[in-house]
């Protein structure tokens, strides 16, 4: 199966999982299903009251009959992937101790007050400009946990209790089903089939999004602003587990290699540890299909070959983007009429992204690195960002060796950066805008999906320490010009950098952390 989207051709061959892992992991791990151009994201809500004592997983079994989750052992005519929120697992009746064994970010949910601040979505009482007006539509609505308030009675305690605010969204999402197939009618019919199969179990589709690759004539998948998307993914390695199609071992890729444990729980990760996953005590439900946990005596490994799936619905305002680029380019020309012949709206948009619209990386002196070549660092060829600006989206999303203070530190910084990679599996939703863009009311954007095993060290680190860091790469008071809030962007050029204003074009409309179970773990959840 293809692990990379169509836009990325050539380069290194695709990686696969060997047996038996390939029948244990979900297909989404190894593939974005680029051969299946249409899809649907169905956000499910469990409408029953409270927590089910028995039969909470019956709907999973029913779903299996109409939409069997795809494993990772080869190409299927249709594909399905599925994840659960913490609140969903709770409602399904997963054992309390098992629920407590998940990683903190997943248990607390993306909308925990402090987490929202770190992700740049909300500060104190206020949603930020990078969230749709009125606040996001959906989340897992994770309940507050015991740590939210310290109300334990203690002798000699006279402190005021600080009660954490519970941040709720109108729509609650308990599980996410991703359907991939060949064309739109089939997808529509399939959705109806799935909804009908789930209805008797009080499982409703509370929100849905059409997902499209919508390749252009050159076979490039573009996001709504018009740029080739899904370029540059980490390449996992693990002796005996990660292989090429012909069965030979995938070696550690110098530039983009990450240990498999960065993507799959239960495997060695980039910090020299086994990536932690959830566990369940042996005999709580039908645990016969689950492997033994390597450390917890009497426990089964619910996490092995599973992952955490970060999902964020990012609404894109295409008209505003190009409008802002036009205004920025006009400002540069106004301030520098004689030295700005090369500055066009597209030129500026490419600096914001860091690649041209075909996905080729911008280099100093006007050159590019072709999209299929992902083996490069920034330090040697573009240290000061005269080609690909320091603050551009691609450089913030993966700085490679570019943050090294001296040449001697290049290797350390590259290795460090690769400990913060995510495997992206997102797709766009909504109709393509007219050319040239005109304002309309169409809801369009990107359903950002990524897989990682340590949400804090991977997704949240990328978002907080790179994308939204106002001091990234010695910059001052500016964040990601593409997906960050309204602000400034510095474009290094000779003799003097240019600084332009950029608006907000991308707004979060909903999001949550999901558990992407392995096939055996999915069977276990179905048996609840």
């Amino acid at each position: 199966m293809d692990q990379r989207p169509v836009s990325e051709g050539g380069g290194t061959p695709n990686w696969h999982l060997s047996a038996p892992t390939n029948t244990k992991a979900q297909g989404l791990v190894v593939s974005g299903f680029a051969n299946l151009p249409t899809g649907r994201a169905l956000f499910l809500e469990f409408s029953w009251k409270g927590v089910k004592k028995k039969g909470g997983g019956a709907w999973v079994e029913a779903l299996r009959k109409v939409a069997q989750v795809t494993d990772a052992d080869g190409r299927d005519p249709r594909a399905v992937a599925m994840g659960f929120t913490w609140s969903g697992l709770q409602k399904m009746g997963l054992n309390q101790n098992a629920l407590a064994s998940f990683d903190r970010p997943f248990k607390e949910g993306m909308f925990q007050e402090d987490r929202l601040r770190r992700l740049g979505d909300r500060r104190g009482e206020e949603w930020q400009g990078t969230v749709i007006p009125g606040g996001p539509k959906w989340s897992g609505n994770t309940p507050l946990d015991d740590a939210a308030v310290d109300d334990e009675a203690r002798a000699f305690d006279d402190r005021e209790e600080i009660r954490e605010q519970r941040i709720k969204t109108p729509v609650t999402v308990h599980a996410l089903v991703l359907l991939y197939c060949e064309h739109d009618e089939a997808a529509e019919a399939w959705c109806a089939e799935v909804s009908a199969a789930l209805a008797p179990f009080e499982v409703t589709v509370s929100h849905h999004l059409p997902l499209d690759l919508r390749l252009d004539k050159q076979g490039i998948a573009r996001e709504h602003f018009g740029f080739a998307d899904g370029i540059s993914q980490p390449i996992p390695f693990e002796e005996g587990t990660v292989v090429y199609k012909d069965g030979t071992e995938v070696p550690k890729d110098y530039w983009n290699g990450v240990p498999l444990g960065e993507i799959l729980m239960g495997h060695m990760n980039g910090h020299n540890e086994i990536a932690q996953g959830p566990v369940v005590a042996d005999g709580i439900g039908d645990t016969s299909g689950l492997p033994e946990h390597p450390r917890g005596v009497g426990f089964k490994d619910l996490g092995l070959n599973g992952s955490y799936m970060v999902v964020r619905e990012l609404k894109q305002d295409v008209y505003a983007f190009w409008q802002s680029m036009r205004a920025g380019a006009a400002y540069i020309r106004e301030r520098d009429p004689e030295g700005s012949a090369h500055v066009t709206t597209t030129w500026l948009a490419e600096r914001v992204v860091g690649r041209d619209t075909h996905g080729n990386l911008l280099c100093p002196l006007g050159g590019t690195i072709p999209v299929e070549n992902n083996d490069f660092g920034f330090w040697d060829r573009d240290r000061h960002g005269h080609g690909c600006p320091m603050g551009s989206h691609v450089r913030r999303a993966n700085p490679r060796d570019g943050l090294a203070p001296t040449p001697a530190d290049k290797q350390t910084l590259l290795d460090a950066a690769n400990n913060h990679r995510i495997l992206r599996r997102g797709r766009k939703y909504g109709k393509t805008i007219s050319v040239p863009p005109t304002p309309d009311d169409v809801d369009r954007g990107l359903l950002f999906i990524c897989l990682n095993t340590d949400i804090t060290r991977q997704f949240e680190f990328v978002q907080q320490t790179w994308i939204l860091n106002p001091n990234f790469a010695f910059l001052y008071d500016e964040t990601d010009p593409l997906i960050g809030p309204k602000g400034t962007m510095t474009i290094p050029e000779n003799p003097l950098r240019r600084i332009i204003d950029v608006e907000t074009f991308v707004q979060m409309a909903g999001g949550e952390y999901f558990f992407l179970p392995s096939m055996p773990a999915l069977d276990y959840l179905g048996s609840l």
Binding site: F156, E273, E334, E338, P405, D454, L496
Partner: protein
Amino acid sequence: MGMRQTTLSVALEVKPESFDHLSGLLDALRDRRSQNPSGGTGPFADFLTTVPAVHFMSLTAFPGFDYDPLFVIEANFDGAPGPFWAQLEAAIGPDLRAFLRCCKRPLDHTGPLFDAVTAPDSRAPIAPYLEARTLTPTVYHHGNRGMTRDRILDESKLFLGTRTELAQSNDGGPSPYRKLTPVEIHAKLRAALLPQFGWLDQKAPARIPFTQSVGDYLRLAWFVLLVVFALSIPGLVLKSQLSWQWYVALCVGLFALFTGILYRMGKPLPGTATPTRFSFLTFFLRHLLVPVAIAVAAYVAIAATLSAPVWSWIGHKAFWPAWKDMAIWAAWSGASIAVTVAGILVWLRWLERRDASQDAPPVDPKMLREMARREDWIPQNHMGSVVLIKPGVLRAILIRVGHHGLHLLLRAQKAARNGYLGSMRTIHFAHWARVNNDSRLMFFSNFDQTWESYLDDFIEKAHAGLTLAWSSGVGFPPTRFLVKDGASHGRQFKEWARHSMAVSRFWYSAYKDLTAEQVERNYRIACGLRKKQLSEKEAAAWINDL
């Protein structure tokens, strides 16, 4: 004249019954200073003017697990402690007194001072008590060494001034700067900013005065000589008792034995190995061989010179023959240092292989949430941690000698003087100090970015140095030869660090939106603008920072 920065802490035992009350008082002080948790528009403004020396300050109450709770004042400021304490007392004197009343009366000679300060309606100055209780850090690190707070603030204003000038000069029309060369841009910008920033005409004060630098180097050299002397003592004793043949045979034999043992014991215990590019041999050959050779040679020369008069008097010899005797003796003992070091490493490794590390340190979720509530409002964050120190003679020596050596090295090494630890420059002020009668190690840091990214930096970019400084803590992840593995066990190390931390209830930063890198960037810009004229080469480098 450059002003010295002071980093210190005061650790006071708290009455257990008053711990929660003290935490509440610290929270209240924080709330009174800042309604907006992110700082808002100048909520600390009064603090900024009433305590003009302070860079960073924290007040923390560590809960009592192994000992009674601990109240710690951590302060990083310009100049000497005396004026700082006076300023602080003027600013928050009544609060400080209330905090001190929650603390236990010390059992040493500072008891009467404590009584005077905490008596009802006391008006006795607090400063003397705090000065008497001040701890000297065993190691400290300054990311922007020699930059006074006011200079940092002034240069930050200058930086913003350059931005405004470049953005608004001939607003609405072509920018006059775009057609100029870097040299001309510098001249024009300087002319435009000079009226507003008159200090650009003054010579920049040296960040690290010459005398201070000389002191840094001399202290390190003296320390190295003492260590060489200490390590050569077994050789001195043996050589005085043995013929050179026996001495050589013994040294070679022991060295072979020790290295043989080390070869076997040096391998990581199963499951504790982490891949590293760090190699002792390469490190030794590249960075240590020459300095060690010089240090031993210097030791031989100095030892001979110091002991020759004594020997010439005892042995009735002329000075130079006596000097020669002594030099030969010292040289023989110098050759034995390798054996002594190998022996100490065997001892260390023997201890390390039996160390109990904590795979899953317990972290209190409520405490963690209280920390999360206070973190990540500004680009800087704060951490305070206390850990127990591993027992044993060798550990006791290593933590003292190791920390002191690390401290002197950080003052003298070029990269560290420029603010770097490994390849990271994210620390403003950090320090280690021993508390509770030297049985616990305290660590404080004021750093840039998130706690997670700071710890990841340690794990990924400076794990050897960090492991060296912290592996003496009880429960630290398994370590080899003080620097290997250890902090490379990512999550285990992070949980260990979190588990040792307390909520930073009151924390103050005098320049909350400036990272250490930005302070240096502003400094480079200011240095350029102070000069009337830049060469083409200078201007080309300078303009990258604008």
